[in-house]
């Protein structure tokens, strides 16, 4: 009996070993490029739209409109390219779900460049779309993720961040002029608190990601388009008093400390907040321009909802245009022509950037939407950020990840609010000091490499 058991044990152990070894040794080979002289991004245009064919898989993050708007897109696309069959896949958590797939070759034909991919690794996954020189003439925001003078993605939209507010609540509260500086903004929120029943500023703390929207307005606080990608990298401690980030998030701390936010931040609800803002139960939220249309559509009072610049003490009011996700093409795709056709159509003809993303199109041929021209007349400037110099490409992102400060992530923003409402015994300065410590440690480590 015992002998048999031992034999069986040995047998199964070896079975397992075989399975494990077989599983481990299946690393994919690098696929070599095709032997043609001209890159696909030039050759596909020479073909007749009728000639381009194939099954195309397009991955998107818009689970909300994949069955409606996107189906329309496919129809319109097929009017020009009748022989391409387009399928969509919508991912709820794009960054998290695409990562494991990118370790295989199966991540759709058209997708976005995940922000998590280090910039220098982009060519391992994506098809070049043109040289930086050519692309810069035609598109905005393509320099951010270029590698060695080649562009691998085009922003699906350029959006800006500000404060979305309810006009009728402001009126009821007696705020007659839009607040421009931080002090004016807090004064306005206090009026809202005194004179109305609305929540002055709704943080959406529970969902978490709305807090990351604040980061998009740091340039407004800095009042300088060079700050974010250029000047910030010269400073190992970018969170000292007087630095833009310090000033920027001090507003978050202050509104929470003065109880100008929702009563219990832990039980907020994003979907409900849109409806409540539309109904006049919420006065302001800090969000990107993409949310404007969603909030206007969340009820019957679309005209009450407007957008103003993030309050700043800087001399100029700058709305910085930030690139949304970059649409890209899988380098292992078997239908590159069709993929290029789709990207080209999506950027130029779909209207996605204005209608669905509340921003402006990356294509320079498409005029600004009316809402923006109005804001421009009032003295706001819409500007692109200065890209990082060549020797600092991707450095900001690297330091940010290594330090776990997470400029675009919510955990540290949540800590600011927790401290402000008294759930943590840290002052705002303590928090900024700890950011500084983490940041400078990572900065030294990476810069000295």
């Amino acid at each position: 009996m015992l002998k048999l058991n031992q034999k069986l044990l040995v047998f199964f152990a070896s079975m397992l070993a075989i399975v494990v070894i077989a599983g481990c040794s299946s690393d994919s080979e690098e696929s070599s490029g095709e032997g043609s002289d001209q890159p696909t991004y030039e050759t596909w245009k020479e073909k007749d739209p009728e000639e381009i064919e194939g099954d195309l898989t397009v991955i998107t993050h818009r689970t909300d409109i994949v069955d409606t708007v996107y189906q329309e897109y496919a129809k319109q696309f097929n009017e020009i390219y009748p022989n391409v069959n387009v399928n969509f896949e919508a991912l709820t958590d794009y960054g998290g779900e695409i990562m494991p797939r990118m370790n295989t070759e199966d991540y759709g034909d058209v997708q976005y460049i995940p922000v998590q991919v280090p910039i220098e690794d982009i060519p391992n996954f994506f098809e070049p779309m043109g040289t930086l020189e050519d692309m810069q003439e035609k598109y905005l925001g393509v320099e951010e993720r270029q590698v060695d003078g080649k562009v691998y993605g085009i922003p699906i939209a350029l959006t800006y961040t500000g404060v979305i507010y309810n006009k009728s609540v402001f009126e009821e509260a007696g705020v007659t002029e839009l607040p421009k500086t931080q002090d004016e903004f807090i004064a306005a929120l206090e009026k809202v608190k005194e004179n109305t029943d609305a929540v002055p500023l709704y943080t959406n703390y529970a969902a978490g990601w709305p807090l990351t929207q604040w980061e998009g307005a740091v340039t407004t606080t800095a009042g300088n388009v060079d700050y974010y990608n250029v000047d910030m990298l010269d400073d190992p401690t970018p969170f000292d008093q007087g630095d833009p980030h310090y000033e920027h998030y001090s507003l978050m701390y202050e509104v929470a400390e003065k109880e100008l936010i929702e009563e219990d931040p832990l039980t907020t609800d994003w979907e409900a907040s849109k409806v409540r803002m539309n109904n006049g139960e919420i006065a302001t939220m800090v969000l990107g321009s993409w949310a404007l249309e969603q909030i206007q559509g969340a009820g019957e009072n679309a005209d009450d909802i407007g957008m103003m610049a993030f309050p700043t003490d800087a001399e100029e009011t700058i709305f910085s245009l930030g690139a949304d996700l970059n649409i890209s093409i899988n380098k292992n795709s078997e239908n590159k022509d069709a993929a290029f056709a789709w990207v080209d159509w999506f950027i130029h003809d779909s209207g996605y950037s204005v209608e669905q993303a509340g921003g402006i199109s990356a294509s320079k041929d498409i005029p600004l939407p009316d809402a923006l021209t109005a804001a421009q007349e009032e003295g706001a400037q819409f500007e692109m950020l200065t890209p990082a110099p060549d020797d600092k490409q991707g450095l900001l992102d690297e330091v940010d990840k290594e330090s776990e400060v997470g400029l675009w992530l919510e955990p540290n923003k949540k800590i600011i609010i927790e401290a402000a409402i008294g759930n943590r015994d840290e002052s705002y300065d303590d928090i900024m000091n700890s950011w500084n410590e983490d940041w400078s440690a990572a900065y030294e480590e990476i810069v000295s490499e």
Partner: protein, 290 residues
């Protein structure tokens, strides 16, 4: 052909044939990923680029940075919740194994939460804990309105609320196992003890508890491992904010928010070892003297 083999041969052939399928599945979906995780934990890898072998560097980072270990204090809440959960489960299982009116109804009520989906429970309790929500209303009705607080907003209470939710959810599972174990005790033992003048407490203390000792220790092992790896309920309800992050939430964040797959794998390996050690220690304590 097969019938010519000796009985022992036949038996082993059949055993092997029957076990191939489950073991292949186990190997493919358990052992292989774990083996891979061990390998990742020795590398620096962000999920996209090439893996860089760095030996035990990740483990050193975890063990030398107190920030990674501070979250284990949160696990203590779940750990103490575990004992409450076991106590309640054992209590109800004992009571419902005797003659009680509406016995099956109560069994159903206690077991039901375990059948619900964790996400649904998370959202249910979010509403329940909201200011002016279910819990506050109930407390107000019974005159305890002064005791209301922000159940998730108050950092001293948040982990108790979450651990309580977890107890509510998993108690039914322990309960059913205990109930099964208790019902396997033959009835005539109780009758004999009643003739000897034993009351209900004596019966529990001297008959039920010794008979189900193994099941109790098994449940304890499961519950303590569960406490260490608490994840679902706090992740859904608070995302680990406001001081409710458990070790697993921190591991997931390290991997998928900060792109440190190597470091997160090392954390996962450490957790695995902690669970193995806890289990081994318990086996020693509760080992049967046979």
């Amino acid at each position: 052909m097969f019938s010519k083999l000796s009985y022992k041969r036949q038996r082993s052939v059949i055993i092997v044939a029957f076990l191939i399928v489950p073991l292949t599945l186990l190997g493919t979906f358990s052992f292989l990923p774990v083996a891979n995780m061990f390998w990742y934990s020795l590398t620096e890898w962000n999920g996209f680029s090439d893996k860089e072998f760095i030996g035990l560097e990740n483990y050193r980072t975890v063990f030398t940075d107190p920030e990674y270990f501070r979250v284990f204090t949160v696990s203590l809440y779940y750990f103490f919740g575990t004992f409450l959960q076991m106590g309640l489960a054992l209590y109800f299982a004992t009571i419902l194994s005797f003659k009680v009116r509406m016995k099956n109804f109560f069994k159903g009520v206690i077991f039901f939460p375990y059948l619900l989906n964790g996400v649904a429970i998370g959202f249910m309790f979010l509403l329940f804990f909201q200011p002016e929500g279910g819990l506050d209303t109930i407390l107000g009705l019974v005159g305890l309105g002064d005791f209301t607080t922000h159940w998730l907003g108050n950092p001293d209470v948040i982990n108790i609320s979450l651990a309580g939710t977890s107890v509510w959810r998993y108690m039914g599972f322990n309960f059913i196992i205990f109930l099964g174990a208790i019902s396997s005790i033959p009835n005539d033992v109780y009758e004999a003890s009643e003739i000897d003048g034993a009351n209900r407490w004596h019966q529990f203390r001297y008959i039920i508890l010794p008979s189900i000792k193994i099941i109790v220790s098994l449940n304890l092992i499961l519950a303590i491992s569960g406490a260490l790896s608490a994840f679902e309920i706090p992740y859904i309800m608070t995302g680990g904010s406001n001081g409710s992050a458990t070790f697993v939430i921190q591991t997931v964040d390290t991997a998928f928010k900060y792109g440190k797959i190597g470091l997160a794998s090392a954390m996962a390996v450490i957790l695995l070892f902690i669970v193995i050690i806890v289990t081994a220690v318990q086996r020693k304590f509760f080992s049967e003297d046979d």
